[in-house]
Symmetry: C2
Subunit: 354 residues, 2 copies
């Protein structure tokens, strides 16, 4: 299928309507042939000019990346640092906003993947709007869309970014980005140069069910299928299922004597502290190479402390149960015997049968 | 497969070696999760600063796009205009270079897809090097790599861009880009801001068989397979096969009384003038919807004049023969009866049996 054919345009139309449903918006939701980081860059460079003051909430690797992107393009970035594994505190964000005075843009990572932490996006947005009604608010929803109720229009935010390899369960290479009317006004005023990521150009092309340049054809086809499945399930069911899987994973991990790394644990990915004496990367390798189960290690300074269990996309009950069955084996192989056999399976199963 | 797993790193290593073979280079060939236009932007912004003088050869839609990208990022662009369908004339390029004086960057579209025209890249590169040995030379090889012998090192060019959906026959979403040592020096000196497309960051990540950000996983897997097939065939066989298919397509088209649009017809895509009285878009639609054959129309001012028959990627002898069988039917449906039945098939077949 070529991306200028009517059959592809029909798919684009379907994907656009499905994305508006998932984002809960009447605004444009654009598709870009790039990964999440490209979507982050697109969000920033389309609404900012060099020297613009930006507040970025940074409580992990991805919050930091937003700040890095802003700085790479000459913004005057203030980092509101949050300890890794803790949720942003709205009062503290308000205090930072007061200290900053004028602010052009605020970036909130709804779910911080590196620490498995969900931030109180809606509450923070309220503080930002109270401080400065016309600020541009960017929400990183890369691992939050389809997991948490983040109604783009009702929240009154301006750009919200997601990526194909998260809740959509597709290969990476397609970013989605919603833009509010306030966002479009900012795009007209912004002076940072842009071409491939020029959202105004995409807006006019995608209104005609095309993309400005070559489309990520295979991923768009997949996106239509996934959106159809999602719409058949319904939004609330999606959120409930993610909460349920996350509950099961947390219960299983706790039953093995592991502690959650995050004080506000995410429904997308669960970060757990490995048992004393276990090397996280040895556990990841053993699970992957011997037991065929993929979990992730930590990044940067928590590399020696945590592993992360993802439950986004097409992860289901069976995956959770199998993961704990094999995780128990792997932990025993590594000399951990402080749990009853099948403890984590029982705990997870008790959640899953509810 | 996750992009930080050893299995994926092994594929990255394989893809990197295969790309060096195809580009005929010892330099880095980087993979970016973007389409060709993103690769074009990456090439420009990594080696340029605002105000840099750039010469762009424009003989069609894609040459123009390079100039547009340069201008979007504040370069001082001189367009060396070539009539659509004609090849660049090295002497004329030399004259433009003389008139310009100092020049930081020259962009050559090796094969102009919009007009089906191949430009004399090697000869133009020689003129540029004679004029200014240290100029940065960017070659758009998006529809030329794997089709024409463009040995990156021997040509002494600096950046060469390709995309997954052309000779590789994969879905769009992965751009490849080779960078010379001169290119890397320019990248260090260049002041245009960059983050997602920062090739220096990719260079250091890809040296470790990783990508700086999320990889285009599915396309990288496919790329390894295609490169394996290509290497089994051999470079000269690839080029010869493309020349052979193009010859067959030209012969078939001429046998139908159609004229080639280009005076330097490409081995990637053949642009032909439709017979008098035929609307190109009606022909494209009829072939697609009734006969199941995808050809392309023209763009901009040649929209009413030409259609384009692609013969890149996994197009083979059978495709060429089937295309002409159906093209004959479609032309008759549209009232063209100035050719003998099977004329184009016979003409194409005479080439293909050689």
């Amino acid at each position: 299928m070529h991306h200028r054919q009517p059959a592809f345009k029909a798919l684009m139309g379907e994907a656009r309507r499905g994305l508006q449903w998932l984002y809960q918006t009447q605004s444009d939701v654009l598709m870009l042939a790039t990964t999440g980081t490209g979507g982050m860059e697109a969000a920033i460079i389309n609404v900012a000019s060099p020297g613009d003051r930006a507040l970025v909430l940074t409580g992990g690797k991805f919050g930091q990346r937003w700040a890095d992107v802003g700085e790479a393009f000459g913004l005057d970035v203030t980092r509101h640092e949050i300890a890794w594994g803790q949720a942003a505190v709205p009062d503290e964000v308000s205090a930072t906003l007061d200290a900053m005075g004028d602010v052009h843009m605020v970036v909130i990572t709804a779910n911080e993947t590196s620490t498995g932490t969900v931030h109180p996006t809606a509450e923070i947005v309220k503080r930002v709007r109270a401080h400065r009604p016309e600020a541009i608010i960017i929400v990183d929803a890369i691992t939050a869309l389809g997991v948490y109720d983040l109604p783009f229009d009702a929240l009154d935010v301006d750009l919200m970014v997601c990526g194909s390899q998260k809740a959509f369960g597709l290969p990476p290479g397609l970013a989605t980005i919603a833009v509010s009317e306030r966002g479009w006004r900012a795009a007209d005023a912004a002076t940072l140069p842009r071409y491939f990521f020029d959202l105004r150009r995409e807006r006019s092309a995608q209104a005609k069910n095309q993309t400005a340049f070559t489309s990520a054809i295979s991923l768009t086809v997949g996106l239509c299928d996934v959106l159809e499945i999602m719409q058949a399930r319904g939004l609330q069911a999606l959120f409930a299922q993610q909460a349920r899987l996350a509950d099961a994973v947390r219960a299983g991990a706790l039953a093995l004597g592991m502690r959650l790394f995050s004080e506000a644990p995410s429904n997308s990915v669960t970060a757990v502290r490995v048992p004393e004496g276990v090397d996280p990367s040895a556990l990841v390798t053993l699970l992957r190479d011997t037991y065929g189960v993929a979990i992730a290690g930590g990044q940067d300074h928590v590399k020696k402390t945590i592993v992360r269990l993802g439950h986004l996309g097409f992860i289901d009950d069976q995956d959770v149960l199998l993961t704990f069955m094999r995780l128990e084996k792997a932990l025993r192989d590594l000399g951990v015997d402080t749990f009853e056999p099948a403890a984590s399976l029982s705990a997870a199963a008790r959640v899953l049968v509810r």
